[in-house]
């Protein structure tokens, strides 16, 4: 078994903050890290290999063990329910999951419809509220759905609220705060415990 620790990183918004955090924790990451289009970046000096994945897929790579550890948003963990250890709250990329819709509207009483990228989160949330809703899964630009009449409500992540505002939507309920988490594959957590413990220690000192 190799001593290289493979880390799954979310591309996009969270990536830069995650890289900054790793640097703060003392990991020497090469400069090309910041604008590389590569999907795999080796950093042998640190005994690390990074794979760059879609944020929604990070937990999948980690659960299957092709990545030992990863950085994933709590929204992804709630939606995907992967069997991974959620060891640290990294306190980066803060946002929250919320229910939004057109102002001063009620949900359809017969068949309330909710459009979302997070069908599991949305269904669980409305069920807890004692409401059975119909879920429509979308992959992006969720705000469109209520505007053009596809759904009564949407469930999406909100960071500044600007997108909602610009599209004339309002927030109805806040579901859960979201930050990025350090996650670990259960087997790696045992088989590479020294490397992972070291990483947890270094990261927890800077979060």
């Amino acid at each position: 078994m190799s001593n290289i620790l493979t880390m799954a990183m979310p591309k996009g918004r969270i990536f830069e903050e995650a890289v900054e955090l790793l640097r703060k924790a003392g990991y020497k990451l090469p400069p090309e890290f910041d604008d590389s289009r590569k999907l795999i970046i080796e950093v042998p000096e640190e005994g690390l290999r990074f794979i760059l994945a879609k944020p929604m897929d990070v937990a999948t790579y980690v659960e299957h063990g092709v990545a030992d550890v990863g950085i994933a948003g709590k929204d992804v963990l709630l939606e995907e329910e992967r069997d991974v250890y959620e060891l640290l709250d990294l306190n980066i990329s803060y946002c929250y999951l919320a229910v939004a819709g057109l102002p001063n509207t009620k949900m359809n009483e017969v068949a309330p419809r909710v459009a979302t990228k997070y069908p599991n989160v949305a269904e669980a949330y409305f069920r807890e509220q004692g409401e059975q809703v119909e879920i429509i899964k979308l992959n992006g630009s969720i705000e469109l759905a209520p505007i053009i009449g596809l759904s009564d409500r949407i469930v999406d992540i909100v960071s500044t609220g600007r997108t909602l505002k610009e599209n004339g939507l309002v927030e109805y309920e806040r579901i859960k705060d979201v930050t990025s988490r350090f996650i670990v594959n259960p087997v790696s957590y045992r088989m590479k415990d020294q490397q992972i413990n070291d990483m947890v220690k270094r990261l927890s000192e800077v979060v």
Binding site: M1, E63, H64, G65, V66, D83, V84, Y85, E86, L87, L88, D89, R181, N185, P186, V187, S188, R190, M191, D193
Partner: protein, 390 residues
């Protein structure tokens, strides 16, 4: 539903083709022989059991069971594991004399189909149960046999992590007072959500010492010294017995000379209600999921017999993945013959079979592409017309 293509199998079902079959049966016999040497006797149980009995007793969650109805309308399940069927047969028959019983099995078990790849709905488990034997020596024997079996199968890098079902629960109840409160923490631990666990602990009205004790639980992983640390945070005697048992277990494991493969890990908890003592998981370096697990359980009580047992089960698919490639050398000999020398060919094959060599008889007129066909064999002999070519 869309029309099925003829090549399709039900979701999660897999074929075992010759190459894999060979490898699987070799590993199965290496492990099986080890188990037999240790005095474990193989048994078989039915593939179908009653939902009300074995299905309900099984550790596998209800939604993971394959269910069907029999003629009388009784609900049946495809067995989801072997532990529950063995507990049934042991409680009703084999434990009548109240002696220790050592049983082994290798069987296919069934779990609900899942959309995602890498999760077969039918897979083989090979394992043992040491029943009606409650000593720590027995727990140690099971772990030592697990390690010995994996080594015999050729697995080099693996680790057994041992926890205890009672420790976390006892600690939670001692500090929090009620089972209900303990369950909240146990759920976080089971879901591997340490962030949630810590947040919950910090939100509780507890002394900082008690909070510290709860947080330290997450760190209790490692060698023998972990038991000392666990003893420090377990203040009351009721939780200490489990730890003293584990200390003794460590000595047993050392006497078996397998301590290098073993670590303690008090963060392992189980959703399974039937575990009553130690529980453990086995990990191999290059496989993302545990390749096996086990523990002490008191499942026979559900079948009307008060006895406990310790056992383990190894997942054959995961183990084979851990063992990796290594194509077995093909030693099969092919004898091509034409009609006039058929009898001679049969005699030769018979002789080779007697010597334990694999030899295929092939009528030369039955093969269209001779070159491609001969490549599949280590050696060939031609008994055709007048010539003999090796």
């Amino acid at each position: 539903m869309s029309r099925l293509f003829m090549f399709e199998k039900p979701l999660g079902m897999r074929d075992t083709l010759p190459g894999l079959y060979e490898k699987k049966s070799r590993v199965r016999s290496l492990i099986g022989d080890t188990m037999k040497l240790w005095g474990y006797q193989f048994i078989e149980t039915p593939t179908l059991e009653y939902y009300e009995t074995v299905g309900a007793a099984s550790a596998i969650a209800d939604q993971q069971l394959f269910k069907l109805l029999d003629k009388e309308g009784q609900t049946l399940v495809l067995r989801p594991d072997m532990t529950a069927p063995i507990a049934r047969v042991a409680a009703s028959k084999l434990l009548n004399e109240d002696l220790p019983v050592r049983l082994a099995y290798s069987a296919n078990v069934f779990r609900a189909q899942q959309r995602e790849g890498g999760r077969p709905a039918e897979f083989e488990q090979i394992g043992i149960e040491c029943l009606n034997e409650e000593t720590v020596s027995c727990d140690g024997e099971v772990i030592a046999l697990l390690i010995s079996s994996l080594k015999k199968a050729g697995l080099q890098q693996f680790q057994v992590s041992i926890g205890h079902v009672g420790f976390a629960q006892e600690l939670f109840v001692q500090i929090l007072g009620t089972n209900g409160r303990a369950d909240i923490l146990r759920k976080y631990l089971f879901e591997k959500n340490y962030v949630g666990y810590r947040e919950h602990v910090n939100s509780l009205q507890l002394s900082s010492i008690d909070k510290q004790r709860l947080l330290q639980l997450l760190e209790l992983r490692g060698g023998e010294d972990v038991i000392g640390q666990a003893l420090d945070i377990m203040e009351q005697d009721s939780g200490k017995q489990a730890l003293l048992d584990l200390k003794e277990l460590w000595d047993v494991i050392k006497d078996y000379d397998v301590a290098a493969y073993v670590k303690f890990d008090f963060t392992i908890v189980s959703h399974m209600s039937y575990y009553s003592g130690i529980l453990f998981e086995v990990y191999a370096g290059n496989v993302g999921f545990p390749i096996g697990n086990g523990g002490r359980y008191s499942l026979m009580e559900k079948f009307g017999k008060s006895a406990s047992a310790t056992g383990f089960a190894v997942r054959m698919d995961m183990l084979l993945e851990a063992l990796g490639g290594g194509q077995q050398e093909n030693s099969t000999h092919c004898i091509f013959f034409s009609q006039e020398r058929r009898k001679e060919a049969f005699k030769l094959a018979e002789k080779m079979h007697e010597q334990g060599k694999q030899a295929v008889l092939q009528d030369i007129t039955g093969v269209k592409n001779l070159d491609a066909f001969t490549k599949r064999f280590a050696e060939t002999t031609y008994l055709i017309g007048g010539r003999t070519d090796e």
